[in-house]
């Protein structure tokens, strides 16, 4: 009676068995990678905005302080997006007829808000509070990156939960003196470890256990 299988089948079967295992492993790795990739986290993707507002120009070149626009960053959960009025404070005189500022003027005329595209998006069940981070010596650039070098703002950090936890578990690594909080170019000094620890005690940082309690961020 004729052979059912050709000799080669031996190899094929072995190959399929092992490559099958290999592929499964690979698939898992890929899934893990995708979940952390900018494709899903939106990290490092500059967003088009209705107005080509450049932080690089306003902060980097003109040296305007963050708080001039983001007024409530020290007092409220939200940093606050400036009302059109704030733009017009200057642009009623500067570039007062630049065509690319028309949306701003229009908004001011019509009373219709400019609809900015949200760059840093937290899930609704996360209750992030800007003011407390600012007051405890976490600098803007620690999370937002060097905004002063961003023509269009992109999300500098993955904003994944384990990214949050990295800090909450070890805040010393990023703490800086309060007066440095708004300094976009601040770089961690060599002895950040000690400095951080010192600041943590000075600013009465809560214990790690408290900082990683669920209800610290989720309600």
């Amino acid at each position: 009676m004729a052979q059912i299988f050709h000799r080669s089948t031996n190899f094929i079967s072995r190959f399929t068995l092992f490559s099958g295992l290999f592929l499964v492993g690979l698939a898992l790795l890929v899934l893990g990678a995708i979940a952390r990739s900018p494709y899903l986290t939106n990290q490092n993707i500059a967003r088009e905005q209705p107005v080509q507002f450049s932080h690089k120009h306003h902060v980097g070149d003109d040296g305007i302080d963050c708080r001039y626009c983001h007024t409530s960053v020290e007092t409220s959960a939200y940093a606050g997006i400036p009302p059109t009025k704030t733009c017009m404070n200057c642009h009623s005189v500067l570039f007062s007829n630049a065509e690319y500022l028309e949306p701003v003027r229009e908004s001011f005329r019509t009373g219709k808000s400019i609809q900015w595209v949200k760059v840093h998006r937290m899930p609704d069940y996360v209750y992030f509070n800007h003011s407390i981070h600012i007051n405890k010596g976490v600098g803007c650039s620690s999370c937002h990156g060097q905004v002063n070098q961003m023509p269009l703002v992109w999300q500098a950090s993955p904003l994944l939960m384990n990214w949050c936890l990295d800090c909450h578990r070890n805040p010393e690594a990023v703490l800086r003196p309060r007066e440095q909080v708004f300094n976009m170019d601040w770089k961690a000094p060599a002895d950040q470890a000690e400095i951080g620890r010192a600041l943590a005690t000075e600013y009465k940082l809560r214990t790690t256990a408290e900082l990683v309690s669920c209800s610290t961020c989720h309600r």
């Binding site: 059912i4 089948t9 893990g32 979940a35 939960m161 384990n162 936890l165």
Partner: protein, 458 residues
């Protein structure tokens, strides 16, 4: 195995294999069921029914995912209903398979030979049915992967103190090992089928599954050792799986759950129901496919004895629960015992006692053990009884626990039933397919048996 004439003449012990069988006849008889014998209208009718039920299961699950677990009868306080009852019940049924194949193999019980194959199949299918429930009973099944320990982007891990996590491991391991064990056992037979199959397609399919088995001495050697190893692996699982399942309850503080007797008592119960299910399957099987020679009265009677034994352990469990609830003096436990006997769910409890304690005592009588129809009925009764036991444990304990102000009642809805009956259909469908596609009895091992018995005959 002691030979037949060593027992007193007035009590003839049935042989594990009726005399007069040769290698050829065994092989022919078993493989023909798969290869030559036509399915027959009976099979088609049964399969149609089973498949219909599977479709119903599909609908029930779709509706469940669309709407949420609220379509069931569960509520606060009774947060677990049919889903968990059925889960535990199915897992329990699975046990007999592994027990027969693994433990009895290690104990070198020859009578296991002709029943282990479909008992194992039953195990696998039962665990598949069981596996559905823990997943779908959650409010958000699509997040079930939160229960797996892997480095997630959330930087948090499962909560390892929870028995539900242990379940995930226990059940998946159990399933994997059982499947391997079953498959390894099948390999020689698959080869036999490959060689006997007529159609090219069948030859190739069986061929692929047979993984190039040629029956050489080396093959046999490796096969034996692998099989033994797996048996060794499977044995602790028989105990561990249901022990872990019992932890789901024993770890909790709910009166009626919070008791240390649960692990042994669950395992015994599992084997009890498992053997009942094997009987429920074996009896029709041997009738329909004329396997009385292979699945002899000896088998049935032995299984009946195992049932009797495990049934008594279960009975002891019930007794202990009661003793403890009074002797322990906790007012909650005492109330629970009282509530079981006389509370709104008393019919369930008493039905349970009837099915699991009273009726099986008939098995003390040899006449009953060898009277096939009665045995069949008995096995059904025990299956029902064990399901009731799980219902009693889950529902009666929860519906009146600590705060009288929060007491409630549980009543299954249409969807509870649809899901449960659906899994029964799935179980049946898989079995029917199995019967048609694979040898229901291990040909290879039967051949060995032929050898043994022929020696005994001499």
């Amino acid at each position: 195995m002691s030979s037949a004439n060593s027992v007193p003449p007035f009590r003839r012990v049935a042989p594990v294999l009726e005399p007069g069988h040769t290698y050829a006849s065994v092989t022919e008889k078993i493989s023909s069921i798969v290869l030559s014998r036509p399915a027959g209208t009976g099979w088609y009718l049964a399969f149609t029914l089973a498949f219909g039920l599977v479709m119903m299961l599909g609908m029930a699950l779709a509706y469940l995912i669309a709407k949420g677990t609220g379509i069931w009868g569960i509520n606060i306080p009774v947060g677990w209903g049919f889903a968990i009852v059925n889960f535990v019940w199915w897992i329990g049924i699975g046990h007999a398979g592994t027990l027969i194949s693994a433990i009895l193999l290690l104990l070198n019980q020859k009578w296991r030979t002709s029943i282990n194959r479909f008992a194992e199949a039953m195990t696998i299918f039962a665990v598949m049915c069981a596996g559905i429930f823990p997943l779908i009973h959650t409010g958000r099944p699509w997040l079930a992967y939160y229960m797996l320990p892997y480095p997630s982007t959330m930087g948090v891990w499962p909560q390892f103190r929870s028995p539900l996590i242990w379940d995930v491991f226990a059940v998946s391991t159990y399933f994997t090992v059982s499947l391997l064990f079953w498959f390894v056992g099948l390999i020689p037979d698959l080869a036999t089928l490959r060689d006997r199959a007529h159609s090219r397609l069948a030859q190739q399919l069986y061929g692929i599954l047979a993984m190039g088995w040629r029956g050489s001495a080396r093959h046999w050697h490796r096969y034996q050792s692998a099989y033994l190893l797996l048996a060794g692996l499977a044995t602790p699982l028989v105990v561990s799986v249901h022990t872990v399942v019992s932890f789901d309850f024993a770890i909790a503080i709910v009166p009626g759950w919070h008791t240390t007797i649960f692990p042994p008592y669950f395992v015994a119960g599992a084997i009890y129901s498992g053997f009942a299910m094997v009987l429920t399957l074996a009896i029709p099987l041997r009738k329909i496919y004329g396997l009385e020679d292979f699945i002899t009265m000896r088998h049935l009677e032995n299984m009946a004895k195992v049932m009797l034994a495990t049934g008594l352990i279960v009975a002891y469990g019930y007794a202990m629960e009661f003793f403890m609830s009074y002797y322990g003096g906790s007012k909650f436990e005492t109330f629970l015992a009282h509530n079981r006997l006389t509370g709104p769910y008393w019919p369930f409890y008493w039905a349970l006692i009837l099915c699991n304690l009273v009726v099986p005592q008939l098995l003390w009588f040899h006449k009953v053990r060898v009277h096939v129809p009665t045995l069949f009925l008995l096995s059904l009764v025990v299956n029902v009884g064990m399901w009731l036991e799980r219902f009693v444990i889950v529902v009666i304990s929860l519906h009146r626990d600590f705060m009288p102000s929060a007491w409630g009642m549980y009543a299954p809805t249409f969807w509870d039933w649809a899901t449960y009956i659906g899994t029964l259909g799935m179980f049946l469908a898989l079995l029917l397919l199995f019967v048609r596609a694979l040898p229901v009895i291990s040909i290879a091992e039967m051949r060995e048996l032929v050898a043994h018995t022929s020696e005994e005959q001499k």
